[in-house]
C-alpha cells in the first residue's frame, strides 16, 4: 500500500556530510520531500515527507536508523507529559 509518512531525521556530527537522504531515495523506492531543515557543523535535522510502499518506507527508515540517524515521527511535536 502506498503511504506518505512525515519524519524528522537528526544527524550526529559524523554523518552531517553524508548524502544519506539521496542514498535513501536510490536504495529504496521512496520519494523524499524535504520541508524544513537546519544543518550546522556539529549537528543537523531535516523534516521530510516520505512517499512509497509501506514496507519499503519501513525498510528505508530501519536502514537510516542503523546508520546512526535518529528518526522521529512528525505528528506535531509532543510536549511535556
Amino acid at each position: 500500500m502506498m503511504i506518505k509518512k512525515r519524519v524528522k531525521f537528526t544527524f550526529p556530527q559524523k554523518l552531517i556530510t553524508e548524502p544519506l537522504i539521496y542514498q535513501l531515495g536510490k536504495k529504496y523506492e521512496i520519494v523524499t520531500n524535504i520541508r524544513r531543515a537546519d544543518v550546522r557543523e556539529d549537528m543537523g535535522w531535516v523534516v521530510l515527507e516520505l512517499e512509497g510502499e509501506e514496507d519499503e518506507i519501513a525498510s528505508g527508515l530501519e536502514w537510516v536508523a542503523e546508520y546512526g540517524v535518529r528518526v522521529d515521527p512528525v505528528s506535531g511535536d509532543v510536549v511535556e507529559g
Binding site: T10, R35, D42, G76, V78, V79, E80, G81
Partner: protein, 389 residues
C-alpha cells in the same frame, strides 16, 4: 475551526493567534478580578468557549512570600508559586482543562496522552469529569504514586516498556491513525495555551506587575516559553506596564539537553538519554527546546542543571523552610534557584518567583530514605529516654 496541529507546508508546530486589539478593548484588571477564582478568569486569552469549560477549580493557586527559604538563599523578595495544589496536584490541570474543553468542541470521544506522570493523572481526572473514554500511555518504570493517582479515575492504563521518548514515538503513530484527542500531540496548540495562565496569575498576584525573575522547571521547554508568553500578552494589552522578567530554566543534570545547548551557545538541542530521578522532567528530546532557548535569549534568563544528588536536598529545603512538599521537579527548581543565586544571576533585592509544579506525595520513593523515626514503647519513661528529655 479544525483540530490542526502542524503546518501542512513545513510540518512545523502551529500556535494559536489572538486579536489582541480586541482583547485590549474589552479586558481590564477589574473584569478579570470579577471573574472566578480559577484559571478561567483569564478565559479571554484562551482558545475555547469558556461557558462550556471543563472546570475542576484549577488555578489561582497560592503565591507565597517565602521569607524562610529566602533567608537561607539570601533573597529578600522570594515567592513560591505553589501549583501543586491543583485538583490533580500538578500544573498539568491548566493545559488539560483547556484541551479537554477543546476536545469536546471538536467532538472527540477519546481523550489520550503520553505521560511522564503528572499529565496522566490530570487527563484521567478531566476525562472522568467530561464523560470521555480515556487512555493514558506511560513508561513502565514510572513512580507508583503517579500511576495510582491516575488509575483511580478509571482510565485505560498502558504501561510501555521504554523511555518517555520511545513512548512518544509510539503515541505519535497512534495519533496519526486514530481519531483520539491526544492532549500533548494532536491537541498540542490548545494544550500549550493553558500554561500561560501561570504567567498571568503571578503578575496579578504581585499587584499587576511582572517579577524580576522566574525559575521554571524544564522538560519539553513548553511551560518555560508559555509563562513568558503570558507575561508578554499582559504587557501587550496594557494589563501590566512592562515585562522585563528574566525567565530562567532549571533541568535535572541527568536530563539537561536544553541547558547543554544554552551553555554551548547553540540553537540546536542535542537529544539526550534521560538518567534522572526527576522523572517528570525526563524528556530527552524536548520539542520546545529551541523555543525555550529563544526565551532565554529574549529575557536574559539562564539555564542551569541541578546535580542529581541535590534534587532531594532541594525538596527537603523547601519542605523544612516553607512547609511545602514538592515532587522531584520542585527539588530541581529549588536546587537550580540556589545555583542561580550563587552565580550572581539573581540579586538579593529582586522579586523572584520559583514555580513549584507538582506535589511531593506523588514521588515519595525519592525521599523515603529520609524517614527515620524515633522508636519507643508506649510508657512515659521510654519516651523521655528516646527523646533525651
Amino acid at each position: 475551526m479544525e483540530p490542526l496541529n502542524v503546518c501542512e507546508l513545513c510540518f512545523g508546530p502551529l500556535e494559536v493567534m489572538y486579536d489582541y486589539d480586541s482583547i485590549a478593548r474589552t479586558v481590564t484588571r477589574k473584569s478579570i478580578e470579577s471573574g472566578p477564582m480559577t484559571m478561567w478568569r483569564y478565559h479571554d486569552f484562551l482558545p475555547v468557549d469558556a461557558e462550556a469549560s471543563i472546570d475542576m477549580g484549577t488555578g489561582f493557586t497560592p503565591l507565597i512570600r517565602a521569607k524562610n527559604l529566602g533567608g537561607v538563599l539570601g533573597l529578600d523578595n522570594l515567592y513560591i508559586k505553589n501549583d501543586s495544589v491543583n485538583p490533580s496536584f500538578s500544573f498539568k490541570d491548566r493545559p488539560v482543562s483547556v484541551t479537554t474543553t477543546k476536545a469536546l468542541e471538536f467532538e472527540f470521544e477519546v481523550l489520550a496522552c503520553v505521560s511522564t506522570g503528572n499529565l496522566m493523572g490530570s487527563v484521567a481526572a478531566h476525562g472522568a469529569k467530561a464523560g470521555m473514554k480515556t487512555i493514558v500511555f506511560f513508561p513502565a518504570d514510572l513512580e507508583k504514586g503517579k500511576v495510582v493517582g491516575a488509575a483511580i479515575y478509571g482510565p485505560t492504563l498502558v504501561a510501555v516498556d521504554g523511555t518517555y521518548d520511545e513512548v512518544n514515538r509510539l503515541c505519535s503513530e497512534l495519533a496519526d491513525n486514530n481519531r483520539w484527542a491526544f492532549v500533548n500531540i494532536n491537541m498540542r496548540p490548545y494544550y500549550a495555551e493553558g500554561s500561560k495562565t501561570l504567567g498571568y496569575e503571578v503578575a496579578e498576584q504581585l499587584g499587576w506587575r511582572a517579577p524580576d525573575n522566574c525559575v521554571v522547571p524544564g522538560a519539553s521547554g513548553e511551560l518555560h516559553t508559555k509563562i513568558w508568553k503570558g507575561l508578554q500578552e499582559f504587557r501587550d494589552v496594557g494589563l501590566i506596564d512592562s515585562a522585563k522578567t528574566k525567565v530562567h530554566l532549571a533541568q535535572a543534570e541527568g536530563c539537561s539537553p536544553i541547558v547543554e545547548a544554552f551553555e554551548l551557545g547553540t540553537t540546536q538541542v542535542r537529544p539526550a538519554r534521560p538518567n534522572t530521578i526527576a522523572k517528570s522532567l525526563a524528556i530527552g528530546n524536548p520539542a520546545s527546546g529551541p523555543f525555550s532557548l529563544q526565551t532565554l535569549v529574549a529575557t536574559g534568563g539562564t539555564a542551569v542543571a541541578a546535580p542529581e544528588d541535590e534534587i532531594v536536598e532541594g525538596i527537603r529545603l523547601l519542605a523544612e523552610t516553607e512547609g511545602i512538599f514538592t515532587e522531584t521537579a520542585g527539588g530541581v527548581v529549588i536546587s537550580g534557584l540556589r545555583k542561580l543565586v550563587k552565580q550572581g544571576k539573581i540579586k538579593s533585592d529582586e522579586v523572584t518567583v520559583a514555580y513549584i509544579t507538582g506535589n511531593g506525595l506523588k514521588t515519595q520513593e525519592a525521599v523515603e530514605h529520609l524517614v527515620d523515626p524515633v522508636h519507643t514503647t508506649s510508657d512515659y519513661e521510654s519516651v523521655r529516654a528516646a527523646l533525651g528529655l
